[in-house]
Symmetry: C2
Subunit: 338 residues, 2 copies
């Protein structure tokens, strides 16, 4: 990860990186293909050239996300093709290979289907970003108007300080400023509301997709155990395959696990090393983890907490948020009867 | 998931599906773009047209996986572009939006980097599939030779039953059959060994990528909590942003969590509803889960077990595998000092 913790600064190599330069870039990646398509390059460049200044950068992001979406569609499509071909290849082989490849095909096909569902949600995230872009575009004229009137007044005051137009323009400026204040407040509120909604939605969909992929990979590994990989000598015949019930059961278990999955039952949980902030919701998770951590690591965590005392002593904010967090906590507990 | 549990059979609609036909396909997906590229369509068709018959189907799969790989590269590339654009857009905004978008950019950029690592591993899986294709291609000539000699003998016996060539050819057939026996045993052994290795490798890489994506999504959600989304009235200024330490800490926590992740510490685990098979390794996981399941669900699981008594009574095979599984179990316990 970027050592500077920002994408805006150039990454400065550390002493150890200078001593041990990073390995050369992967040779398995094509230098000419596999980069952004011509269409997406054009789309990205074109997006910034039209529309109000204020909305240009976000327009580019919205366009790039369209590219992510389209490439994800290709991946999903090709995954399903690969699943079918795996199943067809296996059909010509012995019973065990045939059954396992067919069932693996079902699981890999499901990866493609899940990815398609994720793509629909990713599009929803993109649409929410667009609504920020739209408010940005609509705020631009009010900024322009205020600026224009201010310029006109300055120009008149220099050319003809006693012009009767000046009071009229000054009244117009007051109105423009009032409109601008409202517009900027709307921009500020909607940007935050929509940004939070868009990325929360994206991250929730990502958690769902990721955990379901991890589940499928686990069931796939269980299927592979049914493969009889003990070597045979020439002329020896393998014992008859009797894994049909087991392989079908694995697929049924996988199906049940995928259907039962909810965000509340998510297995992967981030651990945060500070408390008493708006993220109190993670507190109890931290404590649960601490009980399992051997002594050495626990000492390390205490040190991190001491490094950021501002967070620890920020009692005022923490208490303000506690009521809200408690209700979230109860909601969480409702789903975890343990 | 496919109700027939096979990719080879056409899916037969159930009574309820006929009554309630499925919703029309998603409208967010392009009908003309986003499908397989022209290059990958050509690659796929071309792959099956050359080389020995036996290796054709697997050649197609290997080519399709190349397409998956290339599309994944595009996704990774565009994800990183999106991360940079998000960070740049945020830089023009207020302090809180600016800091949170920059840090979100760092996390999303990391998604692209992780995906690149996955792509290298996916290529390794593809290379392993290729080695099955190669043994298939090398076995084809021995099959052809055996067939050719058999045909020649049959032809001669019909045309000239007393030809002195027949005993010579019969001796050649014995040699060809011996060679073929060895080749077929090699094919059988290598196919299973490599297939198991290839898909185990793919599924392990997938679990790693998926759990790391889920982790990043969790930290991303924590970052969003730092955004001050309480609405302001026109003219009101927002309180100064003081989340710099918290956001940096979240990135550091995310980095630490990603670095600490190992397959042994994987959080997402499949639960299988049968025991006493080669998959005994999952037994203890099931039992751990059962302790947390409320009574209602537990009854349901017992019913599933009763439905497949063949698996439950398969004692012989289970005991054979126990020694091997126990050593794996110890390996597992070594990493979980709790």
């Amino acid at each position: 990860m970027h050592r500077t913790y920002s994408l805006r600064n150039q990454r400065i190599p550390t002493a150890s990186q200078i001593q041990n330069p990073p390995p050369p870039p992967s040779t398995t990646k094509s230098r000419f293909f596999g980069k952004a398509s011509i269409a997406s390059t054009f789309r990205k460049n074109a997006a910034g050239n039209f529309g109000p200044d204020l909305a240009r950068k976000l327009s580019q992001l919205v366009s790039t996300e369209k590219g992510v979406l389209r490439s994800l569609e290709v991946v999903a499509y090709e995954r399903r093709a690969a699943a079918r071909q795996l199943s067809l290849w296996g059909a010509d082989n012995d019973d065990d290979v045939s059954d396992v490849t067919d069932k693996l095909g079902v699981l890999i096909f499901e990866l493609g289907e899940l990815q398609d569902q994720f793509i629909d949600k990713y599009d929803q995230y993109r649409v929410t970003l667009k609504s920020i872009r739209n408010i940005e575009a609509s705020v631009q004229p009010t900024r322009n108007r205020k600026e224009k009137v201010t310029d006109e007044i300055a120009h008149l005051k220099y050319k003809d300080p006693h012009s009767p137009k000046i009071p009229v323009l000054e009244q117009e400026l007051v109105r423009a400023e009032a409109e601008s204040l409202v517009a900027e407040a709307q921009l500020s509120n909607i940007t935050r509301e929509k940004m939070k909604a868009a990325y929360n939605y994206q991250f929730d969909s990502m958690r769902e997709l990721a955990e379901k992929f991890a589940l499928i990979a686990g069931y796939g590994k269980a299927l592979l155990e049914l493969l009889d990989d003990s070597p045979v000598t020439p002329g020896e015949t393998r014992p008859a395959y009797d894994g049909y019930d087991a392989s079908k059961q694995i697929i049924m278990d996988a199906e049940a696990a995928l259907e039962a999955w909810t965000l509340d039952a998510a297995a992967v949980k981030p651990t945060l090393s500070f408390h008493q902030t708006v993220d109190d919701v993670y507190d109890d998770l931290d404590e649960e983890d601490d009980q399992m951590v051997p002594e050495g690591e626990w000492v390390e965590e205490e040190e991190i907490v001491e490094e950021i005392p501002e967070e620890e002593e920020d009692d005022g904010q923490g208490e303000e948020e506690e009521v809200e967090e408690e209700s979230e906590q109860q909601h969480y507990d409702d789903h975890h009867v343990e």
